[in-house]
């Protein structure tokens, strides 16, 4: 396999993890963009661990994951009072605050960032991390938990009337999502070798949203498909590389209008055509199939 494909596959895995973290929030009715902030924290933990704290990569990773696990639910707290787009904006503020803080602190390298992060991330490590993240997402979205998660995402009031502790579920998802996203950031820093504030700004937020929507809302499988699709696209469409944000926006509009269920829905329709089944009985996403 060529170096370019290996690098692309590693990025696919890393972005898939961030997309899974974002998707989990959407699945339980908390449209949180905070995972991009947690990705930044994971990446800076890798950089600071190697250049300032002088600790091994594993210790730096543990610190990042512990902070994410503890503070992930805290960032999710506003969902008790606000929801939908308003909550998304609050979580976006978290991302922008993280970006602003690291770009102003000398300790974190300011606007220039930190160079010299050891290039420890390789494909097997990324694959293993992605498998673990997918397993966590599958665990959360299957059986009793999965029903509660999807119910909370669809109608929090009715879910509560059915005995689902929606808020606690959202806090748990906040913790799991933060840990997955922090790990993805840690891997990203070890892949690219440096961190700077521009890597974790609004452009990445848009990119992750596009991945989740294009892949298919309500499905962690869709998050992986969307992340791989968007990451690989520049390889196929090199001339559009400078227009990435414009292209992402256009793709987002096209998918929302033409394929609301995302690529995962398209895959399901293809499977349905290949294997005829009672049409009405089929569900809208593959994730739902998996949760059975």
């Amino acid at each position: 396999m060529g170096a370019e494909w290996t690098a692309t596959l590693m990025l696919c895995g890393i972005y898939s993890m961030t997309a899974i973290a974002t998707q989990l929030g959407m699945m339980c009715g908390a449209f949180s963009l905070a995972p991009i902030g947690w990705m930044a924290i994971g990446a800076y933990a890798a950089a600071l661990g190697a250049t300032r704290w002088m600790v091994g990569g594993f210790e730096a990773l543990l610190i990042a994951l512990a902070v994410a696990a503890l503070l992930g639910p805290v960032v999710m707290l506003p969902v008790r009072r606000i929801s939908g787009l308003y909550f998304a904006l609050v979580s976006l503020a978290f991302v922008l605050v993280i970006q602003s803080v690291v770009s102003h602190l000398e300790y974190t390298g300011g606007a220039l960032g930190i160079f010299g992060v050891p290039l420890d991330t390789d494909l097997p490590v990324v694959v293993a991390a992605l498998v673990l993240s997918a397993a966590a997402a599958a665990f959360l979205s299957s059986g009793r938990r999965g029903r509660a998660l999807r119910a909370a995402g669809q109608d929090a009031i009715v879910a509560q009337a059915m005995g689902v502790d929606v808020f606690r579920l959202q806090l748990a998802v906040g913790a799991v999502g933060a840990v997955i996203a922090a790990a993805s950031g840690f891997l990203y820093a070890g892949y690219i070798g440096y961190v700077d504030p521009t890597q974790f700004g609004f452009s990445l937020v848009v990119q992750i949203i596009v991945m989740v929507i294009v892949g298919g809302r309500g499905s962690w499988v869709g998050a992986i498909i969307g992340a791989c699709f968007i990451t690989m696209l520049p390889l196929v469409l090199r001339p559009l590389a400078e227009w990435r944000d414009v292209f992402n926006g256009a793709l987002l509009i096209a998918v929302v209008l033409l394929l609301p269920g995302g690529l995962v829905e398209m895959a399901k329709l293809t499977l349905r055509r290949a294997r005829p089944a009672p049409a009405a009985a089929l569900r809208p996403s593959l994730a739902n199939e998996e949760s059975r």
């Binding site: 009337a161 005995g163 809208p284």
Partner: protein, 239 residues
């Protein structure tokens, strides 16, 4: 008394939606709640199921105050409800919707839950629709699914918010038969809010009537429906 509501009050800013409403529901009793649009019926139900905090008053089940209990814990105390507008989970199948109704009350294995849900599916004659999504079902069947979901937790008290809305008389009678059969079998109490007075009087043993947020009549159906205040609240003038 199984349920006691005392001096319930709810305000939205300066608007008093429910004011000083008190009533009780006995074990296994079927209570009908009537009133014109905006009379405060659904607000009462939302308060009694803790989805809406009360501005004042008290609510007790088996004599224990539950006015500060979080809504998701009510199902474990045997209180379930349906909603005015159909609110089935659209991405969950009929079976999953019903399973969700019982999984919080019955902490048991998936296999045990499946057996429990099988019985409810049979009761609602939903065998052929159990793996379908709610949107693909006729309105009346969706209502049955919603009721089955509320009953899945084997509640002692069920609040039904306009269960007969949009149904033909025949469908409404079918739901009544289903509810009466279940009441006989389980001894649960029902509080039914509906505009279909004819159907409601056929199933409810007692009525309470609300007008402009206040309880204006309570008692046997004939007495409540002939009460001048109730008539005035419905037709807007003395008859």
């Amino acid at each position: 008394m199984l349920l006691e509501a005392s001096s319930l009050r709810r305000t939205f800013g300066g608007l008093v939606a429910v004011d000083d409403v008190s009533f009780g529901v006995g074990q296994g009793e079927i209570l009908g709640m009537v009133g014109a649009n905006g009379s405060g019926k659904t607000t009462c139900l939302n308060m009694l199921t803790r989805l809406l905090p009360a501005s004042g008053g008290a609510m007790r089940i088996d004599g224990r105050d539950y006015g500060r209990t979080p809504p998701h814990q009510l199902i474990r105390q045997g209180i379930a409800r349906t909603f005015q507008n159909l609110r089935l989970f659209k991405d969950l199948t009929v079976r999953e919707n019903i399973t969700l109704g019982c999984q919080a009350r019955h902490r048991e294995s998936e296999a045990a839950l499946r057996r429990r849900v099988d019985a409810l599916i049979e009761m609602g004659d939903l065998q052929r629709q159990q793996d379908l999504l709610p949107a693909s079902l006729p309105y009346g069947t969706q209502r049955i699914v919603e009721i089955a979901r509320a009953l899945a937790a084997e509640p002692r008290l069920v609040f039904l918010d306009e269960p007969f809305a949009g149904m033909s008389s025949e469908e409404a009678r079918g739901i009544c038969d289903l509810l009466l059969g279940l009441r006989r079998k389980t001894g649960m109490a029902l509080v039914i809010v509906d505009h279909n007075v004819e159907v409601l009087t056929g199933i409810a043993e007692r009525l309470v009537a609300l007008a402009e947020g206040r309880l204006v009549a309570e008692g046997q159906a004939a007495a409540v429906l002939s009460d001048p205040t109730v008539i005035r609240s419905y037709v807007g003038a003395d008859v």
